[in-house]
Amino acid sequence: MQLDIITIVGLGAVLIMLINLFQVISLKSQISGGVVGKSWNIMILLVVLFAAGYMILPFLATMPVETLRIIVSMILFFGAIYVLVTIRLIYGIIRELSA
């Protein structure tokens, strides 16, 4: 594996996503339900998907372009869902705290 700037950034992304995965699962025990709990299960699922998707980053150079395009589009799609869930969660928290 060639250690260029793309590989280093990719490995950094994988590392950070693994930290995210650990944290999102660790916090689950403190969030058993409620407004946050409902969104949290979806967020765990998305982080798992991201972590799995990011694992292919070190192998980008060896992949066919068509496969690569599909994977990137999937990551973008689930990224958009993640942002949507996060925004709705923050909105829900603000609404509850201001009620």
Partner: protein
């Protein structure tokens, strides 16, 4: 239990047990230990202990055996349990500490094993001498966000009745 009108008071060991949790008490026993006030008939605590009145003997006996509560002969409120608010559960004797203990018992009954953060919040408010109603509302918000929305509403409604009565 034959005598639901018997009056019991928490002993010093019982007061220590609330914080220490040294004995492996059931939730009903712990709830009873927290709310027992030395004035009200034991039968009136059935609802908050989370059992039928006829099961109160089973709940009470270990507390007596461990010396955590003791009977009081002819308590002042004997038989005066009818017509009380909040499902017949006697209200605390007015002190904020007693109210805080009742709120903790309520939280443990409503949220069961997930009551930890709510109880912690209530105990902090009680320790700092803060407003119990504000603490209960804040605890309910926390519960609504992280435990259960419906149970949080139930908790807040009962907490308001308990504090205002």
């Amino acid at each position: 239990m034959d005598d639901l009108q018997g009056v019991y008071a928490r002993t010093e060991a019982g007061a220590a047990e609330i914080k220490a949790r040294a004995f492996e008490l059931t939730r009903a026993q712990r709830n009873l230990l927290i709310v027992i006030d030395g004035k009200s008939a034991i039968g009136s605590f059935a609802k908050i202990a989370g059992c039928a009145p006829e099961q109160m003997g089973e709940v009470l006996l270990p507390l007596v055996e461990h010396g955590l509560v003791a009977p009081i002969a002819g308590g002042p409120n004997r038989g005066a349990v009818q017509g009380r608010p909040w499902g017949g559960v006697p209200l605390p004797a007015g002190s904020s500490a007693a109210q805080a203990q009742a709120l903790v018992a309520l939280a443990e009954r409503v949220f069961d094993k997930r009551a930890g953060p709510v109880v912690l919040k209530l105990e902090k408010a009680a320790d700092s001498g803060g407003d119990l109603l504000a603490a209960a509302e804040s605890a309910a918000k926390l519960a609504k966000l992280t435990i259960d929305e419906v149970k949080a509403q139930d908790f807040l409604a009962e907490a308001r009745r308990l504090i205002s009565a």
